[in-house]
Amino acid sequence: MNRGLKGLESKVLDQGQCAACGACLSLCPYLRSWKGRAVKLHDCDLSEGRCFSFCPRTEVDLDALHRSVFGKGYEDIETGPVRRVVMARALAPEFRDKAQNGGVVSALMALALDEGRIQAAILTERDSELLPHGRIAKIREEVLTCAGSSYVTGYALEALNRGPWQGQERIGVVGLPCQVLALARMKASPLEKRTPVDRVDLVVGLFCTWALDYRAFAAFLKSRFGVKPIRKLDITPPPERLLRVTAGDEFHQIPLDEIRAFIRPSCQVCLDMTSEFSDLSVGTVEGAEGWNTVIVRTEKGDDLLRLAESKSVLETRAYPEDKWTHLKEASVLKKQRGLNALKDMPEKYVTLPQKMIHALMKEVAP
């Protein structure tokens, strides 16, 4: 079996399973992203390569990967490792005004940079056409230009591979579940990496139920709103589930069903809603607009959150028990959907202990 570009092509790219994480890009001259797609430019005949090894959709043993990242096996099957969970929001208005919810991610990354915990952050920025791409932010102002979301995955990890790097920087990465999984795989890969992944010192994960394919979604927005600039996109929490679009000076609400067709196929087999391979993960809070859920997973993540609390960068509150239950249920539901979708696939990318699959599938969906 080829574990290089040929394998990646046949098992991922040609199957429409690319998650658009960016881990395989800027490693070699054979792959490039263009308008939201990873494109193979030439054939590469190596039997083993980093593109295949780093990809979050080539075969991965999640249990082994957990051991390598967290020092223990995959035990916390509902939402991954949890040290504590809080509700939080940024106190500075500059974050809250631009942010999707509570502005916690931007505030934390700016803090980590300001305090010298990291010297660079890998974030996702959108251009005027809403096309997301990875960028390296080194100061607070650069963090702010990346705030907000377009619900489109954007090859953010390419920025990590591409640099440029001085060689000493400690690096923080903000990523979606597929991206933090790829990052964990990059770290764990036995191949010679030639990337600064070993200097990645902070991983902030984002909650994600699915992401959209850029080309299809951009074409849809263009057909609806023409040349009007899209100023903001967000999706209201359940039960409404509406896409809210600020196009020019107009405000529109679109039922989610109208855009479901643009969901990337690779999202349907994703088992992770809460970015489990992170130091801490951030998402929305059901029924509490303007607040974020923060799941702290590692000591490093805990340190950063405490620093943010003590410096009054974030305001935190205890997480309501019922919301936590709901969140776990949603997370398990995504895993169940993913496992069901995987059943229909000829080749599965994840390896999970059989008893864990049983345990997951037995969990009662709400």
Binding site: G4, L27, C28, P29, Y30, R32, W34, K35, R37, V39, K40, L41, H42, D43, C44, D45, L46, E48, G49, R50, L191, E192, R194
Partner: protein
């Protein structure tokens, strides 16, 4: 000093067949010569242009073969002798005019030289141009030796003036491109004054009386063929086998007969006037034998015409067995060789003959391998076309809609193979890429969702792509034309063209600006340098996304061979061996495995790439594409 313009009657010199043809024209007092380059005919005008000054000729590279023939017909109408030359495909282009010119007739001697390319060694097709002589009722001559190439060309002018018809001279690669001894004759310097006789208009309409007159002329040509000194017979009066041949077949047949020692058994009838046939001569020899074999290159032209003659006279000549292409005795495609003729005769005559061993070719190849570096059919080192196709491949992959490139004939046709990354998907006639694109570009309404690209060279653009562009604009087609402007007609030997600012004789000429022409046709035009791979890719992507109308991307970069004659390397290029990633993940030999410029080599021992100083032309493109920045270029 022009080789062919030596005023030395009686002297014997070594000439290429095409030079001998040109010399024959000079000895006939030719005044006007025109052609579009095309191998194997290009050296005819090439050598005449070097004699233009000393012999006071008008020699031109015309924009295409039809125009070349029209220019030469004008000379004829004005009472001057004129020659136009072309390859077999060129005659197809000129045929429309030629098949009207046969009706209006000529004044000054007009000779059309067509050099066929049996086997299609440097052509898109394998075609026998002789059939046009039959279609057009034109006298056809086929020189078999270098001396004949000169002498028959000279003779053709007189024949043309006797009949008031264009005369075709058909050569083939091994006559045009080989060299042999030629004894020179006198060089006249006629002082003819050009004048068009308005009382004798040249009007093809109404065709009926002209056609009747033409048939009378060809009847006279038949009579002339009977006494032509270029038809000869060698052999016993009553041979066992009659071999009828023409052109290159003559030497091959002679060699075969001598090698087999069957001179007293085989009669060789070599025909120089192959249309119309010298019927009486052929019938006379036919009568003596039962078995007749034909040796000729490409189509069974002689074979079929002799069979036609036989059908008419079979009661007089008796039953015959015919051997040739129809019987499978001689192959119907590809070049004829002495070996082919020898083995055909050997079987028919039952002579024991030890043919070349089966493994001869393999052994010869093996022996030569040490002396000749291995080269695949591909672009030269530093060729801008390689860089262009690299950008095409990237742009089409990134665009992701299965776009494709429609091509035509030129150096850039190699884009169909590995050195052009197999990007070119169609190959036919001059300008056909643009014409096909004009069609494809209108099929969105039938569901075609792939972007359409066409490619053509600068010389090809003037030759035949311009009408396609006009058509595309007029009919609302949508495609991108990649106009590869390398400032030369490179494939045929760097002849100048309307964009180069020079004529065939080296005189200054106005430059017909490609960008201006395309813009005046309503195309959106961009210009890029193919050596700027990133910029070229970006320009292509932008034009591919533009769904409106005809877009032209002019890729301007001089042919590497033309440039290297004038100036040194652009860049000194070096590989930093420490940075070179070689076969490892991150590169996997992009430069020597995928890009494959011959100026790069792969050093198996060190596992690193290197630059072959002797071959590298210093274009610097490999430095652009190296993923590890291991290839460095410095201004030379």
């Amino acid at each position: 000093m022009s080789l062919i313009a030596q005023d030395a009657p009686g002297k014997t010199i070594l000439l290429m067949g095409n030079e001998a043809i040109a010399r024959g024209a000079l000895e006939a007092g030719v005044k006007v010569c025109a052609a579009y380059p095309g191998n194997p005919s290009s050296e005819i005008i090439g050598s005449l242009s070097s004699a233009a000054g000393i012999m006071d000729l008008h020699v031109e590279w015309s924009v295409n073969e039809k125009v070349a023939m029209e220019v030469v017909a004008a000379a004829s109408f004005a009472g001057l002798r004129g020659l136009c030359s072309m390859k077999q495909n060129g005659l197809n282009v000129a045929a429309d005019f030629l098949l009207n010119l046969n009706l209006t007739g000529t004044q000054g001697g007009l000779v059309v030289v067509v050099a066929d390319d049996p086997g299609g060694i440097s052509s898109t097709n394998e075609e026998d141009s002789r059939i046009f002589a039959k279609i057009g009722n034109l006298p056809l001559l086929e020189p078999a030796t270098f001396q004949e190439a000169k002498d028959m060309t000279r003779w053709a002018f007189g024949l043309s003036e006797d009949l008031r018809l264009p005369v075709m001279v058909r050569s083939v690669t091994r006559v045009s491109h080989a060299r042999g001894n030629v004894r020179l004759d006198a060089l006249p310097r006629p002082a003819t004054r050009a004048r068009f006789d308005t009382s004798r208009p040249r009007l093809a309409f109404p065709p009926l009386p002209s056609h009747k007159a033409l048939l009378q002329k060809i009847d006279r040509a038949k009579a002339m063929a009977e006494t032509s000194p270029y038809n000869l017979y060698r052999g016993p009066e009553k041979p066992e086998l009659l071999l009828i041949t023409s052109g290159s077949g003559w030497m091959y047949s002679l060699e075969a007969v001598i090698n087999l020692g069957v001179q007293d058994r085989v009669g060789l009838l070599k025909l120089g006037t192959t249309w119309p046939l010298p019927a009486a001569l052929v019938l006379k020899h036919m009568k003596q034998v039962e078995r007749i074999v034909f040796v000729e290159e490409v189509d069974p032209f002689l074979e079929n015409n002799v069979k036609e003659l036989f059908a008419q006279h079979c009661m007089d000549v008796g039953l015959k067995r015919f051997y040739g292409k129809a019987s499978g005795t001689v192959p119907s495609a590809g070049e004829i060789t002495p070996e082919i003729v020898t083995s055909a005769l050997q079987k028919m005559l039952n002579v024991s003959y030890k043919p070349r061993p089966q493994d001869y070719a393999a052994k010869a190849h093996e022996a030569a391998a040490e002396l000749v570096p291995a080269r695949s059919l591909g672009f030269c080192a530093g060729c801008p076309h390689r860089a262009t196709y690299w950008a095409v491949k990237r742009a089409l992959a990134l665009d992701g809609r299965e776009g494709f490139v429609l091509g035509d004939i030129g150096c850039y046709s190699l884009g169909m193979g590995p050195s052009g990354f197999s990007q070119m998907k169609t190959l036919h006639a001059m300008g056909s890429g643009a014409g096909l694109a004009a069609g494809f570009g209108q099929f969105e309404r039938f569901g075609l969702s792939q972007p359409v690209l066409a490619v053509c060279g600068d010389s090809t653009f003037y030759h035949a792509a311009m009408p396609a562009l006009v058509n595309a604009r007029y009919n609302g087609s949508n495609f991108v034309l990649l106009l590869l402007d390398n400032s030369a007609t490179a494939m045929t030997g760097f002849q100048p063209h309307p964009g180069t600012g020079r004529t065939a004789t080296g005189k200054e000429a106005p430059v017909l600006d490609l960008k201006g022409i395309c813009e005046s046709l309503g195309a959106k035009v961009k210009v890029a340098d193919p050596f700027d791979v990133a910029g070229t890719t970006e320009a292509m992507l932008e034009l591919l996304e533009d769904k409106e109308g005809v877009k032209v991307l002019i890729l301007k970069r001089e042919c590497a061979l033309v440039r290297s004659k004038r100036q040194k390397k652009l860049f000194q290029v070096e590989v930093n061996k420490e940075r070179c990633l070689g076969e490892t993940c991150g590169c996997n030999r992009l430069c020597t495995r995928v890009f494959k410029c011959p100026g790069l080599y792969w050093d198996r021992a060190t596992g690193k790439a290197g630059i072959d100083e002797a071959i590298c032309t210093g274009c610097g493109v490999c430095a652009e594409i190296c993923p590890a920045s291991a290839i460095r270029k410095e201004v030379a």
